[in-house]
Symmetry: C2
Subunit: 115 residues, 2 copies
DNA sequence: CTGTATCCTTGTTGATACTG
DNA sequence: CAGTATCAACAAGGATACAG
């Protein structure tokens, strides 16, 4: 029996960590191939990408579809369980943008919006 | 010059990690003393509590007020910069509660709502 | 292209003891 | 009550090489 002391602890267990939110943010906007995600999240290593995708899959938030082709093609998409996160992730994103504007020195940072 | 590839990366840098969200969630509902926070977040160690509070303070999200008494009294409250996080944290919280209901086995977990 | 396996480094976290 | 300091332990992350 696992004990949580706040609903938020559950959330953080499922989508917390260094990469989960970021991956979900991109996948939630539409199915993505592994290589696309790698491009959208330049700082992630292949190992962490795959590992995190597996964890999200295990949590039931994304699903993995494999096409039997050569070369291989795999697509990740969100499950219904994940859809309700979309507005929240968007809010978090917006908040970060505002925060950066207000709190970071103008010429000490840049935000590139990849697509 | 620091480069981000998504606004969300900024957010995660500021309020990501194991404890920041949880502390903010409690402080945002009203000023809290150190010992209250320790009680509300049973699994955090004193070291991590203080350390995380300092980080949040450095990010401008909370402020620390010290009363010169014996025994000492300290209160943490949120700054204006932090207020806009309130609805987001509430959403994240709600989401976690729903997720637990749907995805966890009935008798494998419990959520205690401390106050 | 997608994914696995290994090794190694780092940083975060925890336990404990102590101070004003 | 609030906070500091030190050290140890562990998990997370990265680099690299390799495979289907």
């Amino acid at each position: 029996m696992k004990t949580y002391y706040c609903d938020l602890e559950v959330t953080l267990e499922v989508i917390g960590g260094k990469w989960k939110g970021l991956i979900l943010y991109h996948v939630i906007k539409g199915p993505k191939r592994t290589s696309e995600l790698k491009r959208l999240i330049p700082n992630i290593t292949q190992k962490m990408l795959i590992q995190t995708l597996r964890e999200l899959e295990a949590s039931g938030l994304i699903s993995r579809k494999m096409y039997n082709q050569v070369p291989p093609k795999v697509e990740y998409s969100t499950t219904e369980l994940c859809q309700s996160l979309e507005p929240i992730l968007r809010s978090l994103c917006t908040w970060g943008g505002n925060y950066a504007e207000k709190s970071f020195a103008q010429d000490e940072f840049e935000i590139l919006h990849l697509e």
